[in-house]
Every structure is written in C-alpha cells, then in structure tokens.
Point group: C2
Chain length 338, copies 2
C-alpha cells in the first residue's frame, strides 16, 4: 500500500472525523430523533424492521454531510435537520432493496433484514421509508431541495439497474464501473451536500461546489470500500472481508486484476466471479492475484485522486472550522482501515 | 347477483366510461406521451421493462381521475397532465413491487416482468419509476400536490405491508381487510382526484370532496376486483379467474365465506388459502362455497355502498358534463364484468 502516505499529506493532516462529529453533534441528535419518530407506523412490521437497520448503526455520513454543508453555508433555520433525516431514509431504503437484489446475508454486521422478515418485507418497508423520506422533504417546503433529492432518487435507481446489468460480468470496463458508482453511491453524497447550500439559498456556485465535494467524496468512499473488502490488513485484524467476492461483485480491484491477468488467472475470475463456483481457498487466491497486479494500490490511487478533487471543490468557501472538519472527513474516508 | 340491478339505478344510468374518455382524451394523449418519455433511460433494461408494463395497457383510471378532477375544478394550467403521469408511474411502480411480493406470474394478461427480467430488475425499475414520479411532481412546483402525493406514497406502502401481514391469514377480519384496501388501493385513487382541486387552488372543501370521491371509488373498484376473481360469469366467458385463490389472497369473498362456513368448509379454506395446498377442482369448490354464503353478492353490496358514497361526495360540485362523466365512471367500476 505504498502510495497512500505521500498522497495523504496533500489532503489533510487529520484522519478522523471527530471534529466533524463535534460540530454536528447537537443537530445529529435531532436527526436521530426524527429518524426514530418517522420510522414509526401502526403496522407492526415496519418499525420492527426499520429499527433493526437503524439500531445496527452505520456511520450516518450522509446526514452529517447535509448538516455540515448547511452550517458551512450559514443556514439559520431548522429544515436541514429534516432534510438530513430524509437523506438517511433514502439511504436506508436503498440498503433494504440492495440486500434483496444482492441476496446479501449480512448488513452492518447483523443478519440482513430480508433473512429475518423475508424479501417481501424488505421491498415494502424500503418503499415505506422512501415514502416517508419524500414526505419529510415536502414538509421542509424547499422546492430547490426537492429538485436535488428527487433527481438523486432517480439517478440512484438507475445506478442500481446498471450495476445489475454489470453483475458477474467480467467484461465491465473501468469506465462503466465508474458510471455505476457515480450513480448508485456518489449521487446521494452529492445531493446530501448540495441541499445544504440550496436550503440556505446560497448562490449556484456554492451549491455546485458542495455537489462536487459530495460526489468526489462518495466516489472515494466507495472505492475505499472496494479496497477494504480485499484487504489483507483487515483479514489479519479478524474483520470481515470477501463479501464482494462471494456475491460475485465486479468491483475495481477485480476489473484491474482481471484485465492484466494471464489466461489462467482470467479463468479463475471466470469460474469464481462470473460463474459463482467458489471453493475453499479461492478468496486467498483472489487476494494474491489482486496484490500481484497492484490492484488495491491502483484503486486507492483513484480514491485519493477523488479525495483531492473533493478537497479542491471547497476552495470557493473561506477557511474555517466547518470547512476544515469536512476536509478531515475526506481524509478519514480514504484512510479508514476499518 | 340479485341486488346489483336495483342499487345500480340509484348510482347512475350509464355503465360505461365513454363520456369520461371523450372529455379527457386530448389531455390523456399528452399524459401518455410523458409516460413514454419519462420511462426512458440510457440504462437499457429500464425502458425495456417499463415498456412491457406500459404496452400491456391497463385502464389508466388513476391519471384519468386527475385530469377529470382538474377539469371539474376549472384548472387552466398544464400541471395536471404531469401530475397525472406521475400518478400512473406511482401505480406502475407499485405493480412491479407487488408482483415480486405476491410471486405473481401474470400481470395485465402478460407474463409478469419479474419472470422475464428477474425480481431484482422489478424492484429496481420500480424504484426508478418512483423516483421519476417524484421528479415530475416536483417539476410541477405545487407544494400542496406534493404533500398529497407523498402522503399517498407512504400510506400505500403501509397498506402493502399490512396486506403482507394478513396474507394467507384466515383470521383477517373484514375491518382489517377494509383498512388494507383503504391504504393500498383507495389512497392513490383519493390522491389522484384530490390533486386536481389542489393544483387548481380550490377551497379545502372541494379538495376533501374529491379525496372522498376517489377513496370510495377506489374501495368500490377493489371490492369489484375481488368479486370478479371468483366470478362464474367470467369463467364462462373464458376469462381468467382464480388468481387471488391461487396466490392465497384473503379477500372479502373468502373472509365472508370462511366466517360463515361449517367446520368442514373452514378446513377447506385452511388447506387451500392458508397452507397453499391447492388441487384440481379446488377453485370450483371455492366458488361453490362462496356462492353458498352469498359472499359475492355481499361483497358487491359493499362495493355499491362505496359507489353511492363516492357519488354523494360530488354533491358540492354543480352539475355538468364532467361531473356526470365522473359519476358514470363510478357506475362502470361497479358494473364492469370484464
């Protein structure tokens, strides 16, 4: 993992998000309360299933982005809290539908909801959370914010369908993969940040800057996720690796290792990823092949490059504690080893 | 089917929706164009799957309701056309997700999309259509209409989850069943009609009247659907019956026949509906038991009662061709034999 240290310095000195947490903590407590309230329904199954996913935590990066962006834009109202909660609901709904599509067995370290309550419930409770997200945004009453978030909802679904078409397909190019993660992951990060400027009625340049900040942060975040799933370091720490491999996901490390592989190596990827015939020791072989072609380092280089572009996007804003905390969050997303 | 004829007269003399069609035809042509345009995406699978469902037709009752309600309220703009298209997209998305949940094999007389492209694609393309629906509503720019439709989106999903909990459960009461169809079917009819008044900025009383008109029309429509699925007349015409039965749906005819059944009859419902053990001749037996307890006539009585309440809801509007066409649509929904 050679290139990380030098490039890292150009981004930010800090690698944690403590500063961001401190700045948004009060508002995030209100976001969490709204999330709990709006996940309620008299239809018993809904709060049960939603609670399962909410309790299992997650980093709440997306709603934090909305809160921080609104603060960066000196927004004085209360609408950012509701928008942040609706962003998290959109994300939660996507996770529920994703797990059904990917036939995932785990989510955030817990048994996936679909295995506990069935695929049907996951589809429908996801729809409910989307409906609630939509209702909450309407309550805020900003047509501009509604425009940004409704557009993201379409783009995310488009990205998911693209990913479905690319699934288990080793002919997926880096370009196609980029388009997929740009839509399915980065679009919500972008929208989450952009609405902070929109609700504060700031000029278009600032909205666009936050959009680009969120988008590149999301791309960096997703690429690092792809890296972590094949990380030898994580495996040594006893953490989960290999989920993408066992689900046959064609992520960038696989695309790069496959493209540069010998015919024998390509046959390995064909059997495991494309045909889903995975045997004992295959994950180790996959990690060896990925290392042989420097595919993790090369994926991290892309992540770092997006981190740098996220950082530069904030140039339009004056320096200050919130901007600095957002830049730390970029460093965190790229350096996180857990 | 005794009680239909006398009650029918109190509703309306006409049983068809030709008048409604004629009044909304021009606008509906524009709705259809928007539907075609907005189902487009560069992601190939999306227009393919959406087209499959759009091509298979359907009566487009919900968007017609929006157009007619806007006309009844003398709305002069163009927003009703976009809202009508978004209502149809909400409905189409629900159908896609429904088919996954119900494991349906047919939809509108064609192979269900999920069997052609997989459950995954149906879930995700449904999400895309919901996202597009949401975007279109935002384009129209009426926060009032957004409020009505986003609320409906939540309620519909809640109804679907309630239905899931009631599935194959013969202990479902008529009251619970009413709550399910009120949410999963009637809420969209209600919202589709209400937004016509909202976008025309008419007084609350008219919005509420159209809401109630749509809601009762939706309830009548759903109850007649339940009747038609066990209709001997339809079976004689060679039309499809028994889908609800084979999917184990606990609809009102089953609830009524089961409640009044002998222990032997209840054991039949237990084996077929609750346990899904359906053998040759069981549908015929089900139809016989339902007839024995007058369960179709009793369900139709409920439908007629809702039809009458829908009719009365329009009392706040002066008589005229649009009101009269809407009343005909009530008669059509209740008397339709196909």
């Amino acid at each position: 993992m050679g290139p990380i240290a030098p490039l890292q310095k150009t981004l930010t000195a800090s690698r944690d998000i403590d500063a961001l947490h401190n700045l948004v903590d009060q508002d995030m407590a209100r976001v969490n309360q709204i999330i709990l309230d709006k996940a309620h329904s008299d239809v018993e199954l809904i709060p049960k299933l939603a609670q399962h996913l909410i309790d299992s935590g997650g980093k709440r990066l997306r709603p934090m982005l909305t809160i921080a962006a609104a603060k960066l834009c000196e927004y004085q109202g209360a609408g950012h809290v509701t928008l942040a909660a609706s962003v998290e609901f959109m994300h939660t709904a996507t996770l529920l539908h994703d797990d059904v599509v990917d036939e995932s067995e785990m989510r955030r370290g817990k048994t996936a909801a679909r295995l506990l309550w069935g695929n049907e419930a996951s589809v429908l409770v996801g729809d409910y959370l989307l409906g609630q997200a939509f209702k909450m945004m309407v309550e805020v009453g900003s047509l501009g914010a509604l425009r940004v978030l409704s557009n993201a909802a379409s783009v995310i679904a488009e990205g998911e369908v693209m990913q479905l078409a690319a699934a288990k397909n080793l002919a997926t190019t880096e370009e196609t993969y980029h388009a997929v993660i740009n839509a399915k992951t980065a679009a919500l990060f972008a929208a989450a940040a952009e609405v902070g400027a929109v609700i504060a009625e700031r000029p278009e340049t600032e909205a666009l800057a936050l959009h680009e900040f969120g988008r590149h942060l999301g791309l960096a975040f997703q690429l690092m996720d792809d890296v972590l799933d094949y990380s030898g370091e994580r495996a040594r720490l006893g953490k989960n690796v290999g989920d993408d491999f066992s689900e046959g996901k064609v992520t960038l490390p696989v695309i790069l290792a496959h493209a540069d592989g010998t015919p024998e190596e390509q046959a390995f990827w064909q059997r495991t990823i494309a045909e889903g015939d995975i045997q004992d020791g295959d994950l180790e072989t996959a990690m060896t092949l990925i290392a042989r072609h420097n595919a993790l380092d090369r994926t991290m280089e892309r992540a770092l490059s997006h981190g740098e572009r996220a950082t530069r996007a904030l140039d339009v804003f004056p320096d200050g504690p919130i901007k600095s905390a957002l830049l730390d969050a970029v460093g965190f997303s790229i350096s996180r080893a857990n």
